[in-house]
Symmetry: C2
Amino acid sequence: MDPDAVAKAFVDHYYSTFDSNRAALVGLYQDSSMLTFEAENLMGSQAIVAKLAGLPFQQFLHQISTTDCQPSGPAGGMLVFVSGTLQLQGEQHPLKFSQVFHLMPTPQGSFYVLNDIFRLIYA
Amino acid sequence: MDPDAVAKAFVDHYYSTFDSNRAALVGLYQDSSMLTFEAENLMGSQAIVAKLAGLPFQQFLHQISTTDCQPSGPAGGMLVFVSGTLQLQGEQHPLKFSQVFHLMPTPQGSFYVLNDIFRLIYA
């Protein structure tokens, strides 16, 4: 399977889910998953999705500018590095962000997010 | 060892070396290391450092805005996620960048860079 195609499919799925139904992201994380969101650390799918679903904005619209990926280690993991913009409802200007995902394979032939680090990039 | 302290020490060392003597970065990479630099893929310490040392600017000055880290997997790896600005000699305005490193432990108790992805973040 082409890693670039896997990364692109993951990124499309992740941000379209984020922008339509944040609670549905729970299936992408596991108990060992970690999210660092603007320097706040969360662990486990429930805590991570509670954080994302609880963000104080009704609507998000992510636009992806770049997606880079690399295979990562003998266990079949993959790093996916994203930059883009984020339009929040009621805000005039989109915000720039950068985010990295460390994906690990599941026994079912899919991937889950082991590591997730998100930062807004300020002007 | 405190992961945040390791990440901070790595970041300080990496960018001060980059800004003073790029060729000396060779010791941080190994044959299996990968760099994706503005969508260009390189593999192995020699190819990576040849790319970095050959960048067509005499002088770089990195300023770090944020450093985030997470432990990554059972092999003792660590993800380090950096955002900041980059001042190039002769350029009026600094450029924003974001970069992720996947560090792996060495038998000597240090770390090497397994994965490295760099992107400029445009306005």
